[in-house]
């Protein structure tokens, strides 16, 4: 309820006095309120950005060539671009996931949906006389259907989101394997592969897809009332219903967005390797996506979200993954390091932890003083 109460409190206190206030004063009050909100908003970016910068500095120490960028074969080439490129699937999933989590739900099926959309596209590409646009359309349609299934289970049948989407998480991979008949289906289609390995304006296509999806979703949610509806449903679904918000439709919509994002991510990963691997495509990526949303500072209880921060979270995860690969540490430490770094990022974000840390240091210094005095 945080964001809403912030908006409403001044409005309530305004109304009785507004008659006495001049237009100018009113505007000044509005401005102050806006700025307070904005500065509060920017504070949320501080710690995730800090974490990303620290990771990049670690890379600078490990190997300065990490930052070298060169232009070859009509595209920018370098590790930084790789990080952006490779984080695309998780970033897309994170965009969808933040919307779902903002409604107080969760979508575990996104990894499986990736596998299905990849498998469907790969098989369509192998069918003669299917236009590329049909393949893309059907691929996204898979995401919409998956979202409809998840969304109706959650909102209209009232099943717990974690259980409802677990169904599709398990069944979805089976469906993808069925479509692929248990094999890895490979295809030769330069035009479809373009969305995974192509370049536009010197940058890999997946980056543009993420940017596009981010802009579209951001405009859709923040320039219309939809974003507010989603947050309000996430805070309190029944209160929102009494306010006249169709909470079921809002939830359904959130799952559809997540489904479409997952389908896009699945198409990118299939195009990337020019094959659909039903067993491994998107495996465990739902967890990375949830992690990205959490690193972005969203609450898993719902009611607050920032798409940009979630994408930043995905970027942190991928930077970390690339750092581990470049660092040359044995592979068996991968998961341990990942867990430790993520823990650190989350602790940095926790206000309580920061306060305790401060307290720890201040008592230490006072102890020292005490010791010196003696």
């Amino acid at each position: 309820m945080k964001s809403i109460s912030n908006h409403q409190k001044p409005a309530v206190s305004d109304s009785p006095v507004s008659a006495r206030l001049s237009e100018q004063e009113l505007n000044a009050a509005k401005n102050a309120r806006y700025q307070a909100g904005a500065s509060n908003n920017w504070g949320r970016y501080l710690w995730p950005v800090c974490a990303l910068i620290i990771l990049l500095v670690v890379n600078l120490v490990l190997d300065p060539s990490f930052f070298s960028l060169s232009y070859q074969d009509g595209r920018v080439y370098g590790s930084l671009i790789d990080v952006l490129n490779r984080c695309a699937p998780v970033a897309l999933l994170a965009i969808g996931m933040s919307v779902v989590i903002a409604t107080g739900g969760i979508d575990l099926s996104v990894g499986a949906v990736m596998a299905i959309s990849g498998a469907v596209c790969a098989n369509l590409l192998l069918t003669p006389d299917v236009a590329l646009i049909t393949v893309l359309f059907v691929g996204i349609l898979v995401g919409i259907i998956a979202g409809l299934v998840n969304g109706s289970l959650v909102s209209y049948l009232g099943i717990q989101p974690i259980v409802a989407t677990l169904l599709l998480m398990v069944a979805g991979r089976g469906i993808a394997q069925l479509i692929n008949q248990g094999q890895i289906v490979t295809f030769q289609s330069d035009s479809f592969a373009f969305i995974g390995v192509g370049n536009w304006l010197g940058l890999p296509m997946p980056i543009w897809i993420v940017v596009g999806m981010l802009v579209v979703t951001q405009l859709l949610l923040r320039k219309t009332a939809l974003g507010l509806f989603i947050e309000s449903v996430g805070c309190n679904a029944s209160a929102s219903r009494y306010l006249g918000i169709n909470d079921k439709a809002v939830k359904l919509f959130a799952y559809i967005i997540a489904g479409v994002c997952a389908a896009l991510a699945g198409m990118i990963s299939a195009a990337n390797i020019q094959g659909a691997d039903a067993n491994n495509a998107g495996l465990w990526l739902e967890l990375d996506a949830i992690l990205a949303v959490v690193i972005g500072g969203a609450s898993l209880v719902g009611g607050r979200f920032s798409l940009l921060l979630s994408v930043l979270g995905a970027l942190i995860i991928q930077t970390l993954a690339t750092t581990i690969i470049v660092s040359g540490l044995p592979a068996k430490f991968n998961l341990l390091i990942k867990a430790l770094v993520i823990l650190m990022v989350l602790l940095l974000q926790s206000e309580k932890f920061r306060k305790q840390l401060n307290g720890l240091f201040s008592t230490k210094t006072s102890n020292n003083k005490f010791g010196e005095a003696q």
């Binding site: 070859q72 590790s79 490779r86 890895i184 390797i273 691997d277 491994n280 495509a281 690969i325 068996k332």
Partner: protein, 312 residues
């Protein structure tokens, strides 16, 4: 009429030749291309030897396998071959076979029973020998001087551990052959590509690398794409070697984008039949583990091998 009696009826209707050996084969299923060629190979081998093979597909379920083995025992076959889906839970049915004096050969995956006398022998691929074979080829092809990037399999997988062990054993004898980068690609194409991309960046755009050694073909195929996207020529600027022998990899070799692979042999039928036939002739000292390794394939024969495999 239930399925079991139907299977028996079908099996009875294909009346076995009283003079030839009858062997029952319980296969896991057909979950991968490799499994399919494994089944085909066993059937072909049986046909060649004039063995009357009773084939049962368990569709990844152990209870189906146990049912199949019991029906083999009931029919009084001369030998049973099992490709187990899981390691546990085989003791009762193996005991039944033992009581019926039918030799059982385990192929591919292991079974976990304390009493090793319950089965005749186990036939399995030797992962470390696969690693040794490919390492020997690489050492020879690079004149004993090579900086290798290793794409490991899933951390903790037997195939990954043993392949690395065999490979490292061989290259330890050559001071100028070294693994300079090593990371897991989790046996998948996507991760293989991602890891290789980073390796190339970390090694001056790949100039200091001479070869990439992947623990399976899928990761190697991903690495090939990464090498191509970095503007280098796979199999020329950076050699590509791996293990498995999947059709896609043969195609890559035929196209000149990969160098060599050691096939994860699907031809486990021949040694299994050898063991059973030896036992039936009175030989009692069959070794408890028979290892097989596939052959090494290079670009020369790749095109022909690809044609042979794609039809499967």
């Amino acid at each position: 009429m239930n399925i079991r009696s139907m299977i028996i009826l079908i099996l009875v209707s294909i009346a076995p030749n009283a003079f030839s050996t009858t062997i029952g084969f319980s296969q896991v299923g057909s979950e991968s291309g490799w499994r399919t060629s494994f089944s085909e190979s066993v059937k072909a081998e049986a046909a060649k030897r004039g063995i009357n093979l009773k084939f049962s597909d368990a569709q990844q379920k152990q209870e189906n396998q146990i049912k199949a083995v019991r029906s083999f025992i009931a029919q009084g076959v001369d030998g049973i071959v099992i490709a187990p889906v899981v390691e546990t839970g085989w003791k009762p049915v193996l005991k039944e076979a033992k009581r019926a004096r039918i030799p059982v050969v385990i192929v591919d995956r292991n079974v976990n029973v304390k009493n090793k006398k319950l089965f005749l022998t186990r036939i399995a691929s030797d992962f470390s020998e696969e690693g040794r074979k490919i390492a020997r080829w690489l050492v020879k092809a690079t004149n004993e001087k090579c900086a290798i990037a290793e794409l490991q399999g899933t951390v903790g997988a037997t195939a990954a551990i043993d392949r690395a062990k065999g490979f490292n054993e061989v290259i330890a004898n050559y001071p100028d052959v070294k693994i300079v980068r090593s990371q897991t690609g989790e046996f998948t194409r996507t991760k293989g590509k991602e890891v290789m991309e980073s390796f190339l960046k970390a090694e001056q755009g790949g100039k200091s690398l001479c070869a990439v050694w992947a623990h399976n073909d899928e990761m190697a195929l991903g690495a090939i794409q990464a090498i191509k996207e970095a503007g280098l020529k796979p199999a020329k600027d950076i050699l590509v070697v791996s293990v498995d022998g999947v059709p896609d990899y043969f195609k890559a070799m035929a196209d000149g984008e990969a160098n060599a692979t050691v096939e994860l042999s699907p031809h486990l039928g021949a040694p299994a039949f050898d063991a059973i036939e030896a036992y039936l002739k009175g030989e009692r000292n069959v070794p408890k583990l028979i290892s097989t390794t596939g052959d090494l394939f290079t670009q020369e024969t790749a095109a022909k091998e690809y044609e042979k495999r794609r039809t499967n």
